[in-house]
Amino acid sequence: MHLKGKRLKKLISSPMALFALSSTSALAENLVENSAQAERWQMNLKPGVTELGQEIYDIHMLVFWICCVAAVFVFGYMFYAMFAYRKSKGHEPANFHEHAVAEISWTIIPAIILLGMAWPASMTMIKVYDTTESDLDILVTGYQWKWKYEYILEHGENVAFFSNLTTPSQQIHGEEAKNNNYLLEVDNPMYLPVNKKARFLITANDVIHAWWVPALSVKKDAIPGFINEISAKPFKTGTYRGQCAELCGKDHGFMPIVVKVVEQDEFDSWLSEKQTQAAELAELMQQEMSMDELLAQGEKTYAGKCAACHGSNGEGGVGAVIKGSKVATGALSWHLDVVVNGVAGTMMQAFGAQLNAIELAAVITYQRNAFGNNMGDKVQPIDVHNFKQGGK
């Protein structure tokens, strides 16, 4: 398919490119930033940057070629029959309707061919399932509609962060030119050290997602309440992009994955930086924040996390109306409970594990003081922390 692909590419691309240019002017001519990424007119799988991935690619090509050969036989036979036995050529019909040898042979031959495919495929499958002896474990949790990565570390605190789509909505709605990594860019990519076997422990918090990075040949469903394992040992540095591969609701198309495979020392410094960041945050949490600080932060968080459902002016939408709402003008603990634990059985998720205490404190304060909800009270990060500790 590779060869054929290239030739076909030449064939079609001239008129089609014109077409594409006239209608999607935003299309960059050359999207190829990195060999492991999908390119324009790509027609086939890429071998990937793991040994296993290349093996899978080989199996794919093996099966593909077997199907091609079978197709040549079957369709050759068919077109020959269609051509040679046209009535217009004056061919008189024969009257046979059985032939034991033929019938038995076209049962047995396919069976043998199938064996030839099933055997190597099974051998590869066994390797796919071998997730032992990993150098690094990462807990991957799917959320509507973002990923959380938690590096499980032997020493010190685990490092955990969310990874969100960063493509601006102006690009999505055609108000701005689309950039090269349109829909495939995130704020916090996952980092992996090269030549180390990483094991992904995959789960979900709400609905089923699937964590898929084609270049790593990894695709595994994220099932809420269960943990699936899969591993990858990339041998090449680079940035690899993927997407959620299981319908998970409204923004299923908007929860990409970016994995940066880097040298070990770069990975180490990235990791320690993440750790210091976490420590700083913990310290920040102990501080009193002023109303202005809270409102400023809260507005940001609200716009990013809540406005989609509650409307940018608290007017509601998928979510409840916040302006004058019972909760936002009611007891603090109730409000905390709703935001931290969510409302069971509704779209209102538990944000307790998704936002840090500062963000939570800020967004709650914001909701209580914006949109005409003049409650005048504020929530401090430490209140959120205590609330979480004390359960309820």
Partner: protein, 325 residues
């Protein structure tokens, strides 16, 4: 329905146009629109009164239509309009209908099997699920499942706070289960009596059938009556059992998967017993009041009895997987 042409029955009887089908469809449509609206009104706390009216109206219409439909069919048979071939079609129809019911229960038994042998152990970290202990650290799998994974986490709030799996509601395990309490308590164990009732009713029904085939009408009626008494007693005991489950055992529909599968299997079975008993009741009335059925031609009764035996077999399977093991 009217004006049949007698000369045609010998070959094959294609019934005249009939209102029954379209009315039955409309009735079912009203019923499910009503049911859906009504159920939604409970969950989303909206006003559902029109929905309930639709549901009841649809059910009444359906009952009326079915009664009329069966009356017509019975009349046709009594009028000798059914050829032997058509009678075979009815038999085939009933047999395949029962097969579809078998598959319906097969689904639920499959669910139980899967939960008990695969996913349950996985959740507690066995086999393919070693890593699940990260999510449900203290969960221990046992059947009957008395403590759900959520319980093992310390309840819904703790589960939410840990950030795993929000928004699934409360699934607190049952306080007590319905499993076999041992031979000492056998006589206080409702399923024992239920089994006795249902199995003997099935046997009585065979006696009735035997009597009918030998044209002993009184004996037939008596055995059929006995079947009915036993069948309805089963239903009553089942209601008692449910009442006990809710009031004494702390076993609810939402008591984790044990509660869910328990009520699913016994509930649908119980519902089928009700239907079967009602069908048999109709046959009883036909025999007692209409003096219908002959030693040779009694398909209505026979179909009902097949159904009853099917329900009985389901119960026996159920005793094994729901109560005993």
């Amino acid at each position: 329905m009217s004006g049949q042409h007698n000369s045609d029955y010998q070959t094959y009887y294609v019934p005249e146009q009939s209102w029954m089908a379209i009315l039955a469809s409309i009735a079912l449509g009203l019923m499910v629109i009503g049911a859906a609206g009504g159920i939604n009104s409970l969950t989303y706390k909206t006003d559902g009164s029109t929905s309930w009216v639709l549901l009841i109206g649809g059910m009444m219409l359906l009952a009326g239509v079915l009664a009329t439909w069966f009356t017509i069919t019975i009349r046709e048979n009594l009028a000798g309009m059914n050829s032997a071939q058509l009678k075979r079609s009815y038999r085939l129809g009933m047999q395949w209908f029962i097969f579809s019911e078998v598959m319906f229960f097969f689904c639920f038994f499959g669910v139980l099997l899967y939960l008990r042998t695969l996913s349950g152990p996985w959740l507690s970290g066995d086999g393919a699920g070693v890593m699940n202990t990260i999510l449900w650290p203290n969960f221990v799998y046992e059947w009957p499942l008395m403590a759900t994974p959520q319980d093992a986490m310390g309840g819904l709030d703790a589960q939410n706070a840990a950030g795993h799996l929000a928004n699934n509601g409360v699934h607190k395990g049952p306080a007590q289960n319905m499993a076999f309490p041992g031979f000492a308590d056998l006589l206080h164990w409702l399923p024992f009596w239920n089994t006795l009732l249902l199995v003997s009713s099935s046997v009585f029904l065979e006696f009735a059938h035997h009597a009918l085939k030998h044209d002993k009408r009184r004996v037939f009626n008596l055995w059929l009556a006995a079947t009915l008494v036993f069948g309805f007693s089963f239903v009553i005991l089942q209601i008692v059992e449910y009442h006990e489950a809710y009031s004494e055992y702390g076993l609810f529909l939402n008591s984790g998967v044990y509660g869910a599968t328990f009520f699913l299997l016994t509930g649908f079975h119980g519902f089928h017993v009700c239907m079967g008993a009602c069908i048999l009741l109709v046959q009883f009335c036909r025999s007692v009041m209409g003096r219908q059925f002959t030693a040779e031609d009694h398909f209505g009764f026979e179909a009902a009895s097949w159904y009853w035996h099917f329900v009985d077999v389901v119960w026996i399977c159920l005793v094994f997987v729901v109560y005993l093991f």
